[in-house]
Amino acid sequence: MTHRSLILKLLSAAIVFGAWEIAGRIPISFAFPTFIDSMAALFAMIADGSLFAAFGETLRPLAVGVAISAFFGIVLGLWIGLSGWFDWLFSPIFVVMQAAPLAALIPLLVMVYGIGLTSKVFVVCIMAMPVIVLNTAGAVRNTPASLKEMGRAFLGNRRDIILKIVIPAASPIIFSGLRLGVSAGFIGAILAELKITPTGVGDIITYSRSVADYPSMYAAIFSIIVLAVLFLNLLERLEHTLFRGNIRGYASD
């Protein structure tokens, strides 16, 4: 079973990279390099260390922003899900944030917070937080009523019911919100580097494009996607170790 899914994963990667290679060789555009050229550029950047330096820059606003979004997003989401009053007060803010055209708002952020780390962290948070908050709130609100009732009937206090029933019951949807939020955070981090000041991976992308070094540009984009996928897999592992019963299927079937 795991063997087959591994083969399927490799096969789908081969199809995507093959299509990339063919599209690059036609070529569909002079600005679109082949897969092999892009990988060569990627290894060159790894070899001279410039990629690691770039990630060192990019990861700072990303890590700070994702950490803030995950922590405050889950706490706020819990609060909103548990209290109707809080829901009324805060939900609209995050719905608006989720729908806002962020790229258009960036100049405003720069005006207020300057071009430093703060603005970039803000961009990551605006991208990542709404989906984490809204997913958490929705999951908490939809805790099966009979489970909460069971907790009360067996004399659980409010804290126990939240920690031992509400949060574990909501955890699959909280984690799916985290996954969506983290991917949005990655997009936000690159967007900030393209729109505010070119640093890190965003700098490689901007600079390579300006000198028409398209393989390096795509190598940088590729590397950030790989990092995002690795991080999401790590998150999935974390979920599986924290809530073992959940991956074994839900008991309502």
Binding site: G156, K164, G245, G249
Partner: protein, 267 residues
């Protein structure tokens, strides 16, 4: 507190055995909807009382008021003479949909009531293991609920309720979500449990046969607004062998009588 074992005895209701739970003048309104009106009912200690009635008659509402999960709009419920203000250690609940934690093993689910009471892990797991064995689930301690059949899941729910050692067991249509054969086995096991444990059982059901089969007294509730229309106490069934109850003329007569009084309320 004197503990009178009434299983197998044969008194008339006028003898008024000691009451474990009393419901006095309870009303419950949901907004303008009147779910229960001025309902009074007694539950003798050590016996099984079934709340029977058509759907929408407020049986489950009454059970949840006794459990302390719902607050009555008027009236009072007393358990062992003490008024009910919320859930208490003297009552345990068995849920219709089992209400098991899907992410927890059978062992943790059964021990969960004790976990919420702050009993230390080793102690609560030892108690849970004993009750898991008693309901016939030995060997499934480390299974997860979704790996069990419906009947086995309800055995977990029952073991959880037994393990907190409450005097009153409240069961909300506990066998309605399991298949017919499992249900019959459950009903037989329940009779054994009532005879063995000196607990008071309050059992909500919409099955007339089930109510007559398992009960010491059957309270028939009629809907909108709910009231107790009749209390029937089967006299000779408790002394019979479980295999013969369904053929007993008294059993058949009571089932027939209840159906005649309920049929006009079933649309």
């Amino acid at each position: 507190m004197p503990q009178t074992d009434l299983a197998g005895t044969d008194e008339a209701p006028a003898d008024a055995p000691e009451l474990a739970v009393t419901v006095r003048g309870v009303s419950k309104n949901y907004g303008s909807v009147e779910a229960l009106r001025n309902l009074s009912l007694d539950f003798p200690r050590g016996q099984l009382t079934a709340l029977l009635g058509p759907s929408g008659c407020g049986k489950t509402t009454l059970l949840k008021i006794i459990a302390g999960l719902l607050e009555p709009s008027a009236g009072e419920v007393r358990v062992n003479g003490r008024p009910v203000t919320g859930p208490g250690p003297d009552r345990a609940f068995v849920f219709q949909d089992f209400a098991l934690l899907p992410w927890a093993t059978v062992l943790r689910n059964v021990a969960f009531g004790l976990e919420l009471r702050g009993v230390a892990r080793a102690e609560r797991e030892a108690i849970a293991e004993r009750y898991i064995a008693q309901v016939g689930l030995s060997g499934f301690e480390q299974s997860y609920p979704h790996e069990l059949s419906g009947g086995m899941r309800q055995r977990v729910g029952l073991a959880r309720a037994l393990s907190v050692d409450a005097e009153v067991l409240l069961m909300d249509e506990p066998f309605s979500a399991v298949d017919e054969q499992t249900r019959r086995k459950f009903q037989e096991d329940l009779l054994g449990l009532v005879a063995r444990e000196n607990k008071t059982f309050i059992f909500v059901t919409h099955s007339i046969e089930e109510a007559v089969y398992v009960s010491d007294q059957v309270a028939i509730l009629l809907p909108r607004p709910s009231r107790v229309s009749e209390i029937i106490r089967p006299q000779g069934l408790r002394t019979k062998d479980v295999a013969n109850i369904r053929r007993d003329p008294e059993y058949l007569d009571i089932v027939d009588r209840i159906w005649n009084s309920l049929r006009s309320y079933v649309e």
